[in-house]
Amino acid sequence: MKKIFLYLFLSITGVMTLSPFIWMLSASFMADGHASVYPPRFFPDAFTMIQFQTLFTRLNALSNFGNSLALSLLVTFVSLIFNSMAGYAFAKFRFDGKEKLFSILLSSMIIPAQVTMLPLFLMLKQMGFINTYMAIVIPGLANIFGIFMIRQYTISIPDSLIESARIDGATDFQIYYKIILPLCTPILVTLAMFTFLGTWNDFLWPLIVLTDNSMYTLPVSLANLMGEHTKDPELMMAGSVVTIIPVVVVFLALQKYYIKGIMMGSVKE
């Protein structure tokens, strides 16, 4: 009895949680005006791709999609290299002031990113990077959380492995490349996912530094579109579907790594 009640409750709340997505998906396949009806429809009465067509032909969403994808992959790739090298160094190198430096980095995580945005904008403007990919990539080169995650993971790799490789004549770079990186694969996947999704979903920073529709990422373009199409839920839902699908696919494929990453990030002390 208790069990049935529990299942019922979980199912109802589960469907409720998903209902915005269900409605979004169904409205995206409706013709103009079909989502603005009472009572709301959960399924299109006539299935049409017209909204997606408008999106990709007239509104040029493909270039926004391309920007989002290219930037997310670029930031993920570059930051993974920067963070993994630094994380490894913090875990295994011995040098004066290491703990102090690391704790300064950790405590600076409390500074909200918004504080840095104005000067960062001015810097990038001086460098001529406003409205280019560099404006997104440069602030994403390295991040403290990423370094922290790699460090936590790398610490558990036995020193003896590194020592014996060194005795065999391996250079530091070979140790990093041939031992540390392969052993770190799970955490690298987790971090790659965090970074990819974070960059894909980011809004405020791209809104500030990308100034032209051809450079916009999907979220910025979508927000911009919303201004002109407040009365077109079908079109806006199609835009939302296109924006959400890649992150959902990535998440479904690798959810185990993502969930583990959250749990790991939460056991700081």
Binding site: V15, M24, N83, I144, D172, S240, T243
Partner: protein, 294 residues
């Protein structure tokens, strides 16, 4: 040997530290300096046009009614959404941790889905869900004989509407952390309590909750930090309206800085935000310390 180590250190640590130093620490200091200047659109062309004006920006902020509105709205949002988020997450985690339940993965997945999806996209979806005539919310409330509400157009309901959407979007994240916290509680505590005949509620009250204190504080801190940075939800759903009732600190900072290019003023707003988050974190850390020793 010594020089080799130094070389390796520079090679491995150098790039990341340099990037963080140049593109994070320097901007933080620069923002602090800018907040004491009258940096505006004229300074944008030539930085030399900016002059130091001492605490003027901060004094002006104190006298700016719109800033107080933004501050008030943001606090209202944090006070509503914060505890609600944490409670819903804890509740969901406890349900999903129940031994009676199979197929946990499916439920966990559906609760978690809003977390990974793009905030802008779901804010747009919710904007239509809140539509006074055609929206899903009013439709479902109609079954309970509740009259249609213009959620985003009503000065009283706009913020609660944003709160509801934010809780929906975020509770899955904290739920995962709570599940991890629950799994860390030694099972023999419960076994001993069961043997002594403690009820479910007694066990929850005397074992689960106290053991979850560190997790709860951690979650409260990250939730609070995130919620004080409220921006995209009102930007999409209300543009700060109606009657500035959903204007947030970050949106005000964005407008002043990047719409009107009052960068000195905007930097001061950013630092007030930082200060608030800093104080909030310290208070919660102190609470944790106190609870630990109690």
């Amino acid at each position: 040997m010594k020089t080799n180590q130094t070389k390796a250190l520079i090679l491995f640590l150098g790039p990341a530290l340099l990037a963080i130093f140049v593109f994070f620490f320097i901007p933080v200091v620069a923002a602090f300096v800018i907040s004491f200047t009258d940096f505006d659109i004229y300074s944008l062309g030539n930085f030399a046009n900016a002059r130091f004006i001492g605490f003027n920006n901060y004094v002006q902020l104190f006298e700016d009614p719109l800033f107080w509105t933004a501050l008030q709205n943001t606090f209202w949002f944090v006070i509503l959404a914060g505890p609600l988020s944490v409670t819903v997450s804890l509740f969901a985690a406890i349900l999903l941790n129940s031994k009676l339940i199979k197929y946990k993965g499916i439920f966990r997945l559906s609760y978690f889905m809003p977390v990974v999806t793009t905030l802008i996209a779901v804010a747009i979806v919710w904007r239509f869900i809140y539509h006074p005539r055609f929206g899903l919310l009013n439709y479902f409330l109609g079954f309970l004989h509740i009259n249609p509400v213009d959620w985003l157009g009503d000065p009283v309901w706009a913020m609660p509407a944003i709160v509801l959407m934010s809780v929906w979007k975020n509770f899955g994240y904290n739920m995962i952390i709570f599940i991890a916290g629950l799994n860390n509680i030694p099972t023999d505590l419960y076994e001993a309590a069961t043997i002594e005949g403690a009820s479910w509620w007694q066990q929850f009250r005397n074992i689960t909750l106290p053991m979850l204190v560190p997790t709860t504080i951690f979650i409260s801190i990250i939730t609070m930090i995130g919620y004080f940075q409220l921006f995209a939800e009102p930007y999409i759903m209300t543009q700060g309206g109606p009657l500035n009732k959903t204007l947030s600190i970050v949106q005000y900072m964005y407008q002043e800085g990047f719409r009107w290019w009052n960068m000195g003023y905007s930097a001061a707003i950013a630092f007030v935000l930082f200060f608030i988050i800093f104080i909030g974190t310290i208070i919660q850390t102190l609470i944790q310390k106190k609870l630990k020793h109690a």
